[in-house]
C-alpha cells in the first residue's frame, strides 16, 4: 500500500509540475498514485515512466516534465520540493520586448478608459466623416474615436453547412427515428414526416497579418479589429509576421482590449522590421496550416505586398496556402488609394492565388469586409482560379 509519505510526495510533485506550467488534474495525480501500486516503484526508470504515462497529457510537455522530475526526485530532495528552480512550460515563455513592442504596450496603458464621451450627435457625425478617412492620415484623437467605433463593430461571420444532421422543419431528409416513434404512438400509422437538415456552423477565420515597418500605421487598429473578431467568433486564429511568424490567438482572447494588445505586443518579437512574407508563409504552411485551416476556413491575409525575398518561393507558398483554405482574402491597405496598382513584384505574383482582393484602409472598408464575410456561401463551391477584382464579382 501507499504510505502517507508517498501520497504526500505525489501531491507535492503534482504541485511542482503545475508550478512549471503543466496542467495536471487531481484525477491524474490519483492515477499516478494508483499506478505506483502496479509497478516496481523502487526502480527509478520504471517509476519515471509510470509518472510520465499518467501525468503528462501533451507531447510538448514531456521535456518540461522530465526536467521537473529530475529536479524533484533527485536524491535527498524528494522531501523539500519548495524553492527549486524549474523550467517553464513552452507556452509560458516570455520573450524580450523590442522597443516598439514596449511603446505599443505603453500606448495601450496610457489610454484612459474613463475619458469623457463627446455628445452623442456630434460624435456620430464626426464618426461619419471618419468612415472614409484613411487610417494613415488620422490624428491621435481620431484614432481613439475609431478605436471606440471598432469596439462596437458587429459582424456576422461566414457560415458553413457541416456534415452533422439536426432535426428541422425545413430539412430535406426524413427523420426515420422520429417518424417511427410517432407511428408507434398512432397505431402504426405514419401521419407526419419529420425532417432533418445539415447543421450550420461558423467558418473558422484565420488571420495572417503583416506588421512590418510599412504596415506600422495600420497595425494597432487592425490588431484591435482582430481582437473584436476573436471576441465575437471563438474560432478565430491570429498570426502576425514581419520577419518571423508569431501566433497571438491566446493573447487576443483576453476580454480587455488594452490588456490583450499589451500581451500581444509582448509576444511579438519583430514589430516594424522588414518583411519576409514568403518565408513566413512557408513556416505557416508547414507548422500551422494543417491544424488551423480546416473545416472550410476563411483566411485573411493582411499585407501591402512589399516583398523583398524570393519570388519563386512566394508563388509556391501562396499556391499551397490557397489550397488549404476555403477562401483566401488578401487585404491591402494601399488598395484604398485611387492611384494604387498592384505592381510590386510580390503582389502581382501573389494575386494569382487569391480569391478576393480587398482594401483595408478605413473604417468603412472594415465594415465592407464584415458584409463580405457574411455573404460567403455556406456550401462548397468551385473555386474561380486566380484573383477576383472586387467583392461584387466574387459572389
Amino acid at each position: 500500500m501507499i504510505g502517507p509519505s508517498v501520497e504526500h510526495s505525489v501531491v507535492s510533485f503534482a504541485r511542482a509540475l503545475r508550478t512549471a506550467g503543466l496542467s495536471v488534474g487531481v484525477s491524474q495525480s490519483e492515477s499516478f498514485a494508483r499506478a505506483l501500486l502496479l509497478v516496481d516503484a523502487t526502480a527509478r526508470r520504471e517509476f519515471q515512466l509510470a509518472a510520465r504515462a499518467t501525468l503528462v497529457s501533451r507531447h510538448e510537455d514531456q521535456p518540461v516534465f522530465d526536467a521537473v522530475f529530475d529536479a524533484f526526485w533527485s536524491e535527498g530532495q524528494a522531501s523539500s520540493p519548495r524553492g527549486q528552480k524549474v523550467p517553464w512550460a513552452p507556452r509560458h515563455d516570455h520573450v524580450p520586448r523590442t522597443a516598439f513592442a514596449a511603446y505599443m504596450a505603453q500606448r495601450a496603458r496610457t489610454e484612459d478608459p474613463d475619458v469623457e464621451v463627446p455628445e452623442l450627435a456630434k460624435a456620430a457625425s464626426a464618426l461619419e466623416l471618419l468612415q472614409r478617412k484613411e487610417f494613415a492620415q488620422l490624428t491621435d484623437d481620431e484614432l481613439r474615436s475609431i478605436e471606440r467605433a471598432l469596439r462596437e463593430l458587429r459582424f456576422e461571420p461566414a457560415l458553413r453547412v457541416t456534415r452533422r444532421r439536426v432535426p428541422s422543419r425545413r430539412g430535406k431528409t426524413l427523420d426515420w427515428r422520429r417518424a417511427l416513434h410517432a407511428a408507434s404512438r398512432h397505431d402504426g400509422a405514419v401521419l407526419a414526416l419529420p425532417k432533418r437538415r445539415r447543421k450550420v456552423k461558423r467558418r473558422p477565420i484565420v488571420v495572417l497579418a503583416d506588421i512590418s515597418g510599412s504596415m506600422e500605421i495600420y497595425s494597432r487598429i487592425l490588431l484591435q479589429f482582430f481582437h473584436g473578431l476573436t471576441r465575437i467568433h471563438r474560432l478565430t486564429e491570429t498570426f502576425v509576421f514581419a520577419t518571423r511568424l508569431t501566433c497571438i490567438t491566446s493573447q487576443l482572447q483576453m476580454r480587455n482590449v488594452d490588456e490583450a494588445l499589451e500581451q500581444a505586443a509582448t509576444a511579438i518579437v519583430d514589430f516594424a522590421g522588414g518583411t519576409r512574407i514568403a518565408e513566413c508563409l512557408r513556416t505557416f504552411n508547414r507548422l500551422h496550416a494543417g491544424r488551423v485551416l480546416r473545416r472550410g476556413a476563411v483566411l485573411l491575409l493582411v499585407s501591402d505586398g512589399w516583398e523583398t525575398g524570393d519570388a519563386g518561393l512566394l508563388e509556391a507558398e501562396m499556391r499551397k496556402l490557397q489550397s488549404f483554405c476555403y477562401r483566401l482574402i488578401w487585404l491591402n491597405p494601399l488598395l484604398g488609394r485611387p492611384t494604387y496598382r498592384p505592381l510590386a513584384a510580390g503582389m502581382s505574383i501573389a494575386l494569382q492565388h487569391v480569391d478576393d482582393f480587398l482594401p483595408i484602409h478605413s473604417l468603412q472598408s472594415l465594415r465592407d469586409l464584415s458584409t463580405h464575410l457574411a455573404r460567403l456561401s455556406s456550401r462548397r463551391c468551385r473555386r474561380v482560379s486566380g484573383f477576383l477584382s472586387s467583392p461584387e464579382s466574387a459572389e
Binding site: A35, S57, R163, R165, R177, L180, S184
Partner: protein, 300 residues
Amino acid sequence: MHDSLARTSFTAPAEVIERLGERGYVADAALAMSVFLAVRMGRPLLLEGAPGVGKTLLASTLAEVFETRLIRLQCYEGLDIGQAAYEWNYPKQLLELQSRRTAERAEGADGLFTEAFLLRRPLLQAIDASHDRPPVLLVDELDRSDEEFESFLLELLSEFQITVPELGTLRAAHRPIVILTSNRTRDVHDALRRRCIYHWIDYPPFEKEVEIVRIKVPGLSQHVARRVVDFTQRLRRQELAKPPGVAETVEWAEALRVLAVTDLEPTTVSATLGLVLKYHDDLETVRKELLTTLLDAGAA
C-alpha cells in the same frame, strides 16, 4: 500461461514488450509502461504521433495478443450516435408495421423499439454484455471527428455505458480496452486527455527501425535493411511536407525485396520513391536535389 483468461492482462511492463514482440510489434519501455497501465487500470490509452508510426497497429496487435475482438471506429467529421453507437433498423420496423396492419390491428406498434430492431454500431458493440472477455476498441483518428462527438465519447469513457432512450441503459460486462489515436490535425480537448493514459509515439531510433524492418520483411538482407532505414531516417530530417513513417519504410523494404535488390542504387531509389514520399513536391525536391547526397551519406 495457458489459462486463456489470465492472458487478457499483463503482470509487468516487461511482459508487454515480450508479448507484443511475439506478434512482431516492437515496443520500447515507455510505450510498454503506458500500455501496461492502461490495461491494468482500465483507462483509455491516447496515442499521438506522426502518421505511420504504428498507432493503429498497436491496437490490432493488442487484440491478437489477448485473442479478443478488435472493434474499430474510424472518425470523420459529422460522426454521430447513429453511426458510432446505435441506430434503429427503420426498414425492418416499417415492414413489421406493415405486416401487423395487414394481419390484425390489435397489436399496434408495441415492441417496435426492442433489441431485435437495434443496429449495433462499434461503440455499442464494444460494451456489449455478451462478450466473454474485454474486446479492444480502437477509436481511430479522433482529431477528424468534431467537438460534439468528442463530448459524447467523454461520457462513454467515464461510465462505459450507453443509454438508449427507448431501451434503457446498456452497460459493459467487461470494460473494453480502449485505444484512441490522433494525428493532431486538431487539438483533443483537455477533459478527454486527462481521462486517458497519454503516450506520444516517436519515430524509432535506427537500430529499432532496422529490427522492425527485419521482422516485417523477413527475406530482406541485413545490408539493404540498414540502407533503407538509414535513407528514410535521413529523409525525416529534411523539410518535407510529409516525412515518411515507419509504415512507409516497411512498405518500401517489401518492394525492394520483391525487386530482389542487393544494394540501394540511385536509379532504383528514384523509381521506387513513390512508396516513401506521397507528395509531388516532396518527390521533386528529393529526386532533383537530395537523392545522391542522402545516398552517399548513408554509404559512407
